[in-house]
């Protein structure tokens, strides 16, 4: 299958490893990966911050960049949720039926949905001999409803020791603009999240959203927490010694 990759704007710059891992992984599974060059940003940040006119502009150019693609895979639950759940609202707010139609035509999948629901694979042949815990990000959990798909993929990874995260479903406190507008509350929330992560004794905390991981990782790094953050795709791309 020819898969169009949708890369979050900050992933492109800050976490290029995530999209590289998806590319390597999908190619390993025998698929062709395309990176439509017109893409910049899905507009989520502007939409949730209240800049709805700007968000509409970005949503238009984002949809245009993927026009005609058979499937689009986004290794970012929050971007996938934006296209699927927010674009109809953005179109309504902007009174733009064209945008609504364009958004509906996009078949956007979050990575774990794509692997399990579309490709029908749970064991992607990965090898990762580490103790790992998984943080279910809010948008993956409550907007996309990815459920236990990420956990099923992790369980199939050879050598991986999956440990449960206490209070896993509680928000890490990132929330886009929230992390800056309400920095104190955001920090109080991530402090609890980081405490839970360290309680697991895991070497790695993973998620399907680099935005949350940047938040959790930023706090871990400040505390010299000794736990690494990785996107789930980076774990799935690992094959270890052949």
């Amino acid at each position: 299958m020819r898969v169009a990759l949708s890369v979050a704007c900050f992933d492109d710059v800050l976490f290029p490893g995530t999209a590289k891992a998806v590319t390597v992984l999908l190619e390993r599974l025998g698929h062709e990966v395309a990176f439509p060059p017109g893409q910049t940003c899905c507009g989520q940040f502007h939409w949730t911050a209240g800049y709805h006119r700007e968000a509409a502009g970005l949503a238009r150019s984002h949809s245009a960049a993927f026009e005609g693609c058979e499937v689009v895979v986004a290794p970012s639950a929050s971007c996938a949720a934006t296209v699927r759940d927010d674009y109809p609202k953005i179109a309504r707010t902007a009174r733009d039926p064209g945008l609504a139609r364009a958004a509906e035509a996009l078949a956007v999948y979050e990575l774990t949905e794509f692997l399990i629901d579309v490709l029908g694979v749970t064991d992607v042949g990965a090898y990762f001999p580490h103790r790992v815990t998984y943080h279910p990000s809010c948008r993956s959990l409550r907007i996309l409803g990815v459920g236990d798909r990420p956990v099923r993929l992790l369980r199939a990874v050879r050598g991986l020791d999956l440990v449960e995260l206490p209070s896993a479903e509680e928000c890490c406190g990132f929330g886009g603009a929230f992390a800056m507008k309400n920095a104190d509350v955001s920090v109080a929330m991530v402090a609890d999240k980081v405490r839970h992560v360290r309680d697991t004794g895991a070497d790695v905390v993973c998620a399907v959203d680099d935005s949350c991981l940047a938040h959790i990782g930023g706090a871990l790094s400040r505390l010299r927490g000794g736990v690494r953050t990785m996107h789930l795709a980076e774990i799935l791309a690992e094959t270890g010694p052949a």
Binding site: C9, T18, Q39, Y51, E169, G173, M180, V185, A188, G217
Partner: protein, 491 residues
């Protein structure tokens, strides 16, 4: 310190009473609360316990989702023809011997209630818990009129005796632990005695003993109401201690203050809400005391019944096509108990009226977003969505928050000089609106970011982004972006 008078918004007549100092924005108001570790521990304990009970109560009801859907539908229907339901209610209440008063805003409601109390000549009123009377700042108004208000619920008494501000919709003293409340009672309630234990029964008994002759002597009672049944003119109130029932039955004059959004069309509708509300608010199958009363009956209960119907911005909220769904709220407080922001700040930073997620939408919906404090409320959320998941009447609070943020931004667009945030967001959108501009900016930005970093981490960012690095690092951008890698290896 008492809560500032909430009635003096620009939209309501701000004539009565002194002009309160402007409320701080949410972030500023949250700071002292975050630092109060005892309060945070109490609140975390209270909300976690309620969360567990609520989840269990919802899980044991096989048709919970159907009930939620029914609750949503009934409220939406009621709101759609609100005017005709309210007229029906007024007719039914009047026929049953009661009197209906309409109050457009908090100031008018205060005037009506104060006037009604004055007319009885009473110098003291007993009062049952009511968010609506809190909303209109009634206690302060009655005090100014020389009337002593006796709160009769344990939590309200604790807040009143401690000259505290309430922090939770249903249990206003959720930020206090039982030891603190018992200590307060030992000091301020003579009947409690020095040996008062701090279990809930002992506290309720002490409150009752303290209030017994006050109840018996009281000539006027003030309460709220959870539901108003239009077809019969019936007021319905749910509570756990029984003090509200005393307020309903013992005094000669009963004054109930309720928002116009409390109306439901028929008695049948109560079947749904009497299941939804207790389960969502306390995790109980049924509330210990459910009282319903219709008009007056000679020789039984109050001789005069006054229902004060309060608008105070509710029709303004109703006019908002996205926001109007917030008026479905049955004030169960389930959304507070699952909100990670509320859990850490308590209710007070949300302002004097409604705490928690529902407060973050109801307050700006009913008051507008003109003041900086009200405009900060829609941003007091990470949009994690936990509130929407539990709401028994399916209010999509995150959706409403985003909608209100849009209103806040629109109101800022009219300013002659854009705020730094506005300039940044517009600039960002302009840059990202075009792939070439975007790429050039990314390359420039990454270079700068690498200059600011040390050991692969950025520990201090300038300007608006500095808020991020106060307590969190940011990884330095790697030398090659994904785009760069793609072009080098695949294109």
């Amino acid at each position: 310190m008492t809560a500032s008078s909430p009635g003096t918004t620009p939209s309501s007549s701000g004539r009565s009473g002194p002009v309160p100092a402007p409320r701080p924005k949410f972030a500023a108001a949250a700071r002292p609360e975050l630092a109060d570790t005892r309060m945070r521990r109490n609140l975390r304990g209270a909300t976690a316990a309620l969360r567990g009970r609520e989840a269990a109560a919802a899980a044991e009801t096989a048709d919970w989702e159907d009930l939620r859907e029914a609750g949503r539908a009934i409220k939406d229907d009621a709101l759609l023809d609100l005017d005709s339901h309210l007229e029906e209610l007024e007719r039914a209440v009047t026929e049953a011997g009661g009197t209906v008063h309409w109050a457009a805003d908090a100031a008018e409601a205060r005037r009506v209630v104060t006037g009604l109390v004055r007319a009885t000549g009473a110098k003291e009123v007993v009062k049952a818990a009511s968010a609506t009377t809190r909303e209109i700042g009634l206690n302060d108004a009655l005090a100014r009129a020389g009337v002593t208000v006796r709160e009769t619920g344990v939590a309200e008494m604790a807040v009143q005796l401690g000259e505290d501000a309430p922090s939770h919709l249903l249990s206003p003293a959720a930020h206090r632990d039982r030891a603190e409340i018992a200590e307060l009672f030992r000091r301020a309630v003579p009947a409690a005695g020095p040996g008062l234990a701090d279990d809930p029964e002992a506290l309720a008994a002490a409150a009752r003993a303290h209030l017994r002759d006050r109840f018996l002597r009281a000539r006027v009672a003030v309460t709220g109401a959870n539901f108003l049944v239009a077809e019969t003119g019936t007021l319905v109130l749910l509570e756990s201690e029984g003090n509200a029932r005393m307020c309903l039955t013992l005094p000669e004059t009963l004054i109930s203050v309720a928002g116009i959004d409390k109306v439901v069309p028929t008695w049948d509708d109560m079947e749904v809400f009497l299941q939804l509300l207790p389960r969502s608010s306390t995790g109980d199958r049924m509330t210990p005391y459910v009282s319903s009363w219709t008009g007056v009956t000679p020789g039984d209960g109050p001789r005069a019944l006054h229902l004060v119907l309060l608008d105070n911005g509710r029709t303004r909220a109703l006019a908002d096509e996205v926001g109007r769904a917030a008026l479905r709220c049955i004030r169960c407080s389930a959304c507070l108990n699952v909100c990670p922001v509320y859990e850490r700040t308590g209710g007070r930073p949300y302002g004097p009226v409604h705490p928690g997620p529902i407060g973050a939408v109801l307050t700006p919906l009913t008051r507008g977003v003109e003041s900086a404090a009200d405009a900060s409320l829609p941003y007091a959320s990470t949009l994690c969505g936990a509130c929407a998941d539990v709401c028994p009447v399916k209010i999509d609070i995150p959706d409403m928050l985003v909608h209100l943020r849009g209103k806040v931004v629109e109101s800022r667009r009219r300013r002659p000089v854009p705020t730094p945030e506005m300039a940044l967001m517009r600039g960002l959108a302009w840059t990202m609106g075009d792939p070439r501009r975007h790429e050039a900016a990314v390359r420039r930005g990454a270079r700068w970011a690498r200059l600011l970093s040390r050991g692969g981490r950025i520990r201090r960012l300038p300007g608006l982004l500095g808020k991020w690095t106060e307590a969190r690092d940011l990884p330095a951008p790697p030398p090659e972006s994904f785009r760069g890698w793609w072009d080098r290896t695949r294109a």
